[in-house]
Amino acid sequence: MTGPTLRTLDYAVLQQCMHCGMCLPTCPTYDQTKRERNSPRGRIALMRAVADGTLDTTSGFAEEMSYCLGCLACQTACPAGVDYAELFETARSDIERNDSQPGVARRFWRALTLGFLFKRPRALRAVGRVVSAYQRSGLEALARRSGVIRLLPASLRRLEPQTPRIAAAFSNALIAPQEQPRAAAQYRVALLTGCVQDLVFPYVNRDTADVLLANSCAVDTPPVQPCCGSLHAHNGDLAGARVLARRMIDLFPPDRYHAIISNAGGCGSHLRRYARLLADDPSYRQRAHLWDSKLRDIQEWLVEIACRRPAAAPFADPVTLTYHESCHLVHGQKVSRQPRALLRLLPGVSVVELPESSWCCGSAGVYAITQPEQADLLLRRKTANIVSTGAAWLATSNPGCHLQIARGLDGAGADVQVAHPVSLLARAYRREPAAIPNP
């Protein structure tokens, strides 16, 4: 099963774009260059030219699709309802199929990451443990001090400081496979622990479980979970994405749960679209539909079940906080008011609106690695906006945004802490008189 190409895709999806231009002011790359090829309607025009056979998937075409953040701001802005995500993923898949961005090194890294590590959760954790040990043993600091780093090729040297700090223990060590709330459970939910979330922010998963327990949900968290396939779909490996989607559905039979919970904006946006991904697979199609209907972002789910207001404040002193919207949460999943509603539940916290809250921070999956210059421009813009609010805390709901923005704030010397909204909720619940235990 190979899936559609731009040539074989339903042409009406391309025609849906009537190039009115309403997307232009919302596109971060068009905003930067003011060139139509860097805009959503311009990119769709290029895709349509490929579908029409008047343009090949040239290296220029590949570069353009790589320059697109995939932030989907255009999809929110589009009155005509163009499914840009589908077009974009199909275009990137065409590029891979036609090998429009050749290069031995690129092929090696793709095979290692998409083809191996992000398909084998145990191998990924093993690599995570090695990196964690390296970071904690003092070797990393030594390497940086001694200048050994300078021996690395330029492309890796630039990335080295961006390596996130890997946690000492992962989600499976923090969360039991099945946990029950103190009172009778009203809901049964599955908790997806993710890949980056699991390696870098496993305590966000613990916090998510705690907040679910505090809201009468029984939580199933299998210790070993496959990657959801978002990275694969986003980077042109749709076949790999389908394999992973089937594994997820097998591991979490959707009929068993009231909701399947994701706490990472980027994963959730892909996770709730399995039905489309598996549309041509008769043995999974129906379950994929059911899966999509059960998939919830944690914040969406909490608001849906009327999240309990914490009886304690998360901090000893009053705090001002602002909220950055993960692109794939606000544009990909249309979850925008719920995180704000949850933050307003927090006693002692005043929420101020962040200017351009839904403008991409430049993280965008692997974008900060593939397009460092544009990513950096976006990060500086985001950091300046955050600093302008005067907030002491920034809440955001995606590990990529979290890492990127924390790095930006650090670089700007800004004293702003970053946290997932559920972590703040969990913190408040833990400070309640009869608190849930600290992990």
């Binding site: 009537m18 231009g21 139509e36 311009g42 025009a45």
Partner: protein, 460 residues
């Protein structure tokens, strides 16, 4: 149709290599504007930075007999900035600075690439107002607005772009730089040449600087929705409001198809079960707004409105207006191709026109969504079709012909605010009559004898 190296080099020597695009991936996205089903690849796209650049580009193009198509943000709705075969697109988006705002004289001087919204935002910082608000105002360029003489939702009370242009700087086809008009409210020196260039669709010269009139920003406004079971009742309400000597800033009409599509996109609470929705807005002094809003709501009820809803607050009002601005694009949800028209009739003929459009579509078995500026007689019947279906497209074009003829019979015009461009050329001579049409062609001949500026637009 690629350019020779010598020609590319010629443009490069004027604007620099980064501002000349010739690669397919770069120029394919300049093959169209906001008009459906029209596309033509240009030979190159050039981005001038200064008036001097424009002048030298036009001189060079003249010497090489190259056609030049000026373009702003490419949101036009009549194909006015769609390239002609082999032409060079002069894209004005990098001339995007507001040059000066003069609150003592209530004027703003700007380059053509600034967006309409940015103009009004700049005015607002001084308590002033730039009223024309075409649907694409967040991205449309002010130069494009002047070239097409764009309208918007506030035309009824505030008029259109022309009513705010006090002076223009224009580069003529031979490269001369000319200025017309001044900061003076009264200025009758010579022919009103600026008016010749407003709405000339890039066929007589390239606009490089614009002096705009601003007005005081209204202190209050009230937005409301009136819902109807019969379209005729909505039209009657509009007539009754005008007859009551009220001039609201907005009286927008949406039929059921349009309201459903807009609601699907914007989720602003538009009803999807009634035949017609009127979006009404009055602005001005708070006391006058309160009085007029009350009377408008009352007139809507006495003319058969099922319900009248007031916008809760400013955010609600803005959401409703911006939802309406996206009506045309939202209609694209139904079928692959949306053919939008811009027929305008005297207000007294509106009910007859709306009925005629619905009947014509029904007889031809076509889907149509109609919306528009009912207060100024400007309707946007939008046919929902598929450009790949030749037989259905033929029926669409036949229906449009019938509606155009009816428009002219009723004393209307084939275009109220989008311009003639490519889309409406076939009906222009019929509307204008032979001698008016010939005068226009003589003017074009006098200013652009080689026919190099936006060839094939307005007329052949």
């Amino acid at each position: 149709m690629a350019l020779t190296q010598a020609i590319t080099d010629g443009f490069t020597s004027i604007v620099g290599p980064a501002s000349v695009l010739t690669q397919p991936e770069d120029i394919i996205p300049y093959s169209f504007d906001g008009t459906a089903a029209l596309r033509q690849l240009p030979a190159a796209v050039v981005f001038p930075q200064t008036t001097e650049d424009v002048s030298r580009c036009l001189q060079f193009a003249g010497a090489q007999s190259l056609a030049i198509v000026a373009r702003g943000s490419g949101t036009g709705l009549s194909g006015g900035s769609v390239p002609s075969a082999g032409s060079v697109v002069l894209c004005m988006t990098q001339m995007n600075r507001i040059l000066d705002i003069d609150p003592r004289n209530l004027v703003l001087r700007t380059q053509p690439g600034v967006t309409t919204l940015a103009i009004d935002d700049a005015a607002a910082r001084h308590g002033l107002f730039y009223p024309p608000d075409p649907g694409s105002m967040r991205i449309s360029s002010i130069g494009g607005n002047v070239a097409e003489n764009s309208g918007g939702l506030r035309g009824l009370k505030y008029g259109v772009t022309r009513d705010y242009v006090m002076a223009l700087e224009v580069v003529l086809p031979d490269g001369r730089i000319a200025r017309f008009g001044s900061k003076c409210v009264k200025d009758v020196a010579g022919y009103s040449m600026k008016d010749l260039f407003i709405g000339s669709e890039g066929s007589l010269g390239v606009i490089t600087e614009i002096l705009l009139k601003l007005v005081p920003r209204p202190l209050a406004r009230q937005t409301m929705l009136a819902l109807y079971d019969r379209i005729e009742d909505a039209a009657e309400t509009v007539s009754a409001i005008i007859a009551a000597r009220i001039i609201p800033c907005t009286l927008e009409f949406l039929d059921q198809t349009t309201a459903c599509c807009v609601e699907e996109y914007a989720h602003v609470g538009l009803p999807t079960d009634c035949a017609a929705v009127l979006l009404m807005e009055t602005d001005g002094h708070p006391a006058a707004v309160a009085d007029e809003a009350g009377r408008m709501a009352e007139l809507a009820r006495t003319n058969g409105a099922r319900e009248v809803r007031l916008a809760r607050d400013e955010a609600d009002a803005l959401a409703l207006a911006s939802a309406r601005r996206n009506a045309f694009s939202a209609l694209a949800r139904r079928r692959p191709t949306t053919i939008l028209e811009d027929f305008t009739v005297p207000r007294s003929e509106l009910a007859a026109m709306v009925t005629f459009i619905a009947e014509t579509a029904r007889a031809a078995n076509l889907q149509v969504g109609t919306f528009g500026h009912m207060g100024d007689g400007n309707l946007h019947p939008t046919f929902l079709t598929d450009e790949r279906d030749a037989e259905e497209m033929a029926r669409v074009h036949h229906a449009l012909d019938l509606i155009a003829k009816k428009t002219l019979e009723l004393g209307g015009t084939i275009t109220g605010e989008h311009g003639v461009g490519l889309a409406k050329k076939t009906w222009l001579r019929e509307q204008m009559g032979d001698s008016s049409f010939d005068v226009m062609k003589q003017i074009k001949q006098a200013l652009d004898p080689a026919g190099l500026l936006n060839p094939g637009k307005i007329f052949d």
